[in-house]
């Protein structure tokens, strides 16, 4: 109840500040139109923003531990968040400057018009791609290498129960968390990418086929897709994984999951490919190609596909995010990527109990959040880039 009272008092103060801000503006500028016509909501927004900013700075400047040396977790987490945001913004800014200075004329032009969020997204995707390809070289240990030192605290400080050999600590059975995070990039991202690719090959080719052939092929495929899309995808994949788990286990189940999710997601790709294909099939150049006597394969891959790349590429980004999140959710539930492969969803589940120690040992609580944050960071990055690409291709200025 006390908290609620504080919130109400704080809001009342901010409301008064907002009114005072507008009034002061009107007085100081001699009733300039900007302040005269300012709605109260806007001045309230300015006051709220200022109050949040001051509160954030105040929290940042608090000492991170009290006199007894017990860390103040909220201050520590807030500092980490602020540091991360600042580093991310600076890195994205430098990356954009680099992109503007280096490269061909066309690539420099793209970077000149790029918002900071999109630059950040591209940078993150590049880093993940690098980690995924060279995981074996970067990671200090193997992904399923078990050490005798289990439950080592992250931070590498021996006084707090850490070990400099394992900068992020080890998990409950003694595997190095840093190595597993890096291998997670390879496994989770790699598997999600392969699944999306498979879904696009399946859904795209069937969609174009339906658009070109029309008739009963189109009807049959479209109705089948309608039925498959009527079942929520996570529920359907769980059902099919139940069935698959009776036949295979371990790595086999991982492969079964890839196929299952690819087929379910191919239905969404099919819809888009068919709709885009329908618009292209009625074009004159398709008619000309048909009159030339070109075969079905030529029509689909040489005439329709090149003209459908732009919408399919944007869809690829979004679809990748969905697949990636679905696989992570399945792994989190223990039904996705199977051990011994290291994977972020499973890591979050395994380490999640450590969050309860956050109040007195913030760095312990960080380890499950790191894996979950790694998932979130990549999807956010992809979404930033796709958002920017859609904005660019639609030519929207409003």
């Amino acid at each position: 109840m006390n908290t609620l009272l504080w919130i109400i008092v704080a809001l009342a103060v901010v409301a008064a500040l907002g009114w005072a801000f507008r009034f002061a503006g009107q007085m100081v500028t001699g009733n300039k139109p900007y302040f005269r016509d300012m709605p109260y909501a806007v001045s309230f927004g300015f006051a709220l923003g200022a109050a949040l900013f001051v509160g954030g700075v105040w929290l940042y400047l608090q000492p991170p531990a009290n006199e007894a040396g017990v860390p103040r977790a909220s201050v520590v987490f807030w500092r980490w968040a602020v540091h991360f945001l600042i580093v991310a913004a600076i890195a994205a800014f430098i990356f954009r400057l680099l992109g503007r200075a280096v490269g061909t004329q066309a690539s420099r032009k793209i970077f000149r018009q790029m918002p900071l969020t999109a630059a950040f997204g591209i940078l993150v995707i590049l880093i993940y791609g690098f980690a995924a390809v060279f995981a074996g070289l970067i990671a200090p240990y193997g992904q399923d290498q078990v050490f005798s030192a289990a439950n080592v605290v992250p931070g590498g400080d021996p006084a707090l129960g850490g070990n400099p050999d394992f900068p992020l600590g080890t998990d409950q059975i003694g595997r190095d968390i840093l190595s597993r995070l890096i291998y997670g990039a390879q496994n989770t991202v790699g598997i999600a990418f392969a699944t999306t690719l498979l879904a696009f090959v399946l859904g795209g080719s069937l969609g174009f086929l339906a658009a070109t052939l029309r008739g009963w092929v189109d009807q049959l495929l479209s109705r089948a897709v309608d039925v498959l899309m009527a079942i929520p995808s996570l529920i359907f994949s769980l059902l099919l994984i139940t069935v698959a788990s009776a036949w295979v286990s371990g790595t086999g189940l991982t492969i079964a999951m890839i196929v299952i999710i690819a087929v379910i997601d191919a239905t969404r790709v099919f819809r888009l490919a068919r709709a885009v294909g329908m618009n292209i099939v009625v074009m004159d150049y398709i008619e000309a190609a048909k009159l030339r006597g070109e075969g079905l394969g030529y029509l689909i891959f040489k005439e329709i596909l090149p003209n459908a790349t732009a919408p399919l590429l944007a869809e690829f980004g979004l679809r990748f995010c969905f697949v990636f999140l679905t696989i992570s959710a399945l792994s989190f539930l223990g039904l996705g990527i199977q051990p011994p492969l290291a994977d972020w969803g499973t890591m979050v589940k395994d380490l999640s109990a450590f969050i309860n120690y956050a109040a007195f040992a913030p760095q312990i609580a960080a380890s499950p959040l790191l894996a979950a944050g790694a998932i979130a960071l990549l999807t956010v990055a992809v979404n930033f880039v796709v958002d920017w690409m859609l904005h660019r291709s639609s030519g929207l200025k409003e």
Partner: protein, 329 residues
């Protein structure tokens, strides 16, 4: 006959047909499993005679379509069968009363509906207000901030949002319980407190999409001549949006709200596992892990039914809000 009624009846019939086909798909998928009910039930002690006896008891020796229709008939009368776990328990321990799947699902279904209801009560007004504000102050710092925040929350996995909320609202500032402890005879207030953290997580997940759609629907209307007319009359920007733009934007907004409620149905699975919330999603995941076929089948059918129903509602509501369809020439 009223044309709207005709359209609605058509959609309803189509929805029922879809549900029928979906039930067939689910039944077929489950019947691809090697070994059947009888072998699973008997486990190690599956002698050929015992298996044959149980098969005969449960009609497993009947042809595929006969079994499908008898299963469908049982489903329609509310008889969802008995879970393997319960049968195993009975055959090993000799327990007298059997809990049927329907008994297991009913209280959990109510819990899940409560969670979805609380989420909808928070998320829908919140999303529409944010969307209207973002449209009102479009291209301002506020709009951009909201845009980045919603993009982030829409693209984060549910469990990440859940653990962040647990960290700040349950561990660092113990305001809400991190484990949703819901027992029989719990008071409404306690139940609300226990449900709040999962509901807030789901709110973060579904708000983004609804808010972005509200903003886009309003902004796309702002270029129309009648809005310009309203502006020229000297009406305040808020009034232009709320009185003139919003009524015409309801169709896409209601549509996206219903679609997001349908999304909630799948979203609950992960969130229920995180918070140990005794809902139908958790039961489903446990049943999938134990390969408990009758429970998996029943849960699948309920999830698919709710999903189809909400999609149908989205369809019908967007027809109802369109005056051109309500009063055809």
């Amino acid at each position: 006959m009223n044309p709207v009624l005709t359209i609605i009846l058509q959609r309803l019939a189509l929805g029922l047909l879809t549900l029928l086909i979906v039930s067939f798909v689910i039944f077929t998928a489950v019947n691809m499993l090697p070994g059947d009910f009888a072998e699973a039930l008997l486990g190690q002690s599956a002698t050929p005679e015992a298996v044959a006896a149980i098969r005969k008891d449960l009609n497993l020796d009947q042809p595929f379509f006969v079994r499908y229709f008898s299963w469908l008939g049982a489903m329609l009368t509310g008889d969802l069968g008995v879970s393997y776990a319960q049968l195993n328990f009975q055959s090993n321990m000799g327990a007298s009363t059997l809990k049927t799947v329907a008994d297991q699902i009913a209280p959990r279904f109510a819990n899940t509906m409560f969670l979805a209801g609380v989420t909808a009560c928070i998320a829908v007004p919140f999303a529409v207000t944010l969307g209207v504000l973002a449209a009102l102050y479009r291209n301002s710092v506020f709009d951009k901030g909201v845009n980045i925040a919603t993009l982030t929350s829409i693209s984060s996995p549910e469990f990440f949002l859940a653990y962040i909320l647990v960290l700040f609202l349950a561990v660092l500032n113990p305001l809400l319980p991190s484990i949703a402890n819901i027992y029989q005879g719990i008071s409404f207030q306690d139940r609300l407190v226990a449900t709040l953290l999962p509901a807030l997580t789901l709110t973060l997940v579904v708000t983004a999409h609804m808010m972005r759609m509200t903003r886009a629907a309003i902004i796309s209307l702002l270029a129309s001549p009648y809005i310009e007319m309203a502006r020229l009359k000297g009406i305040s920007p808020l009034r232009v949006i709320v009185k003139h733009a919003l009524p015409n934007a309801w169709a896409p907004i209601i549509n996206v709200i219903a679609l997001n409620l349908a999304y909630l149905i799948t979203g609950v699975v992960v969130v229920e596992v995180v918070f140990n919330y005794p809902g139908i999603g958790q039961l489903f995941v446990d049943a999938v892990k134990n390969r408990d076929i009758p429970v998996v089948q029943a849960c699948c059918l309920i999830f698919a039914g709710a999903y189809i129903l909400l999609n149908l509602a989205a369809d019908i509501l967007s027809i109802m809000t369109n005056p051109r369809l309500r009063h055809p020439k």
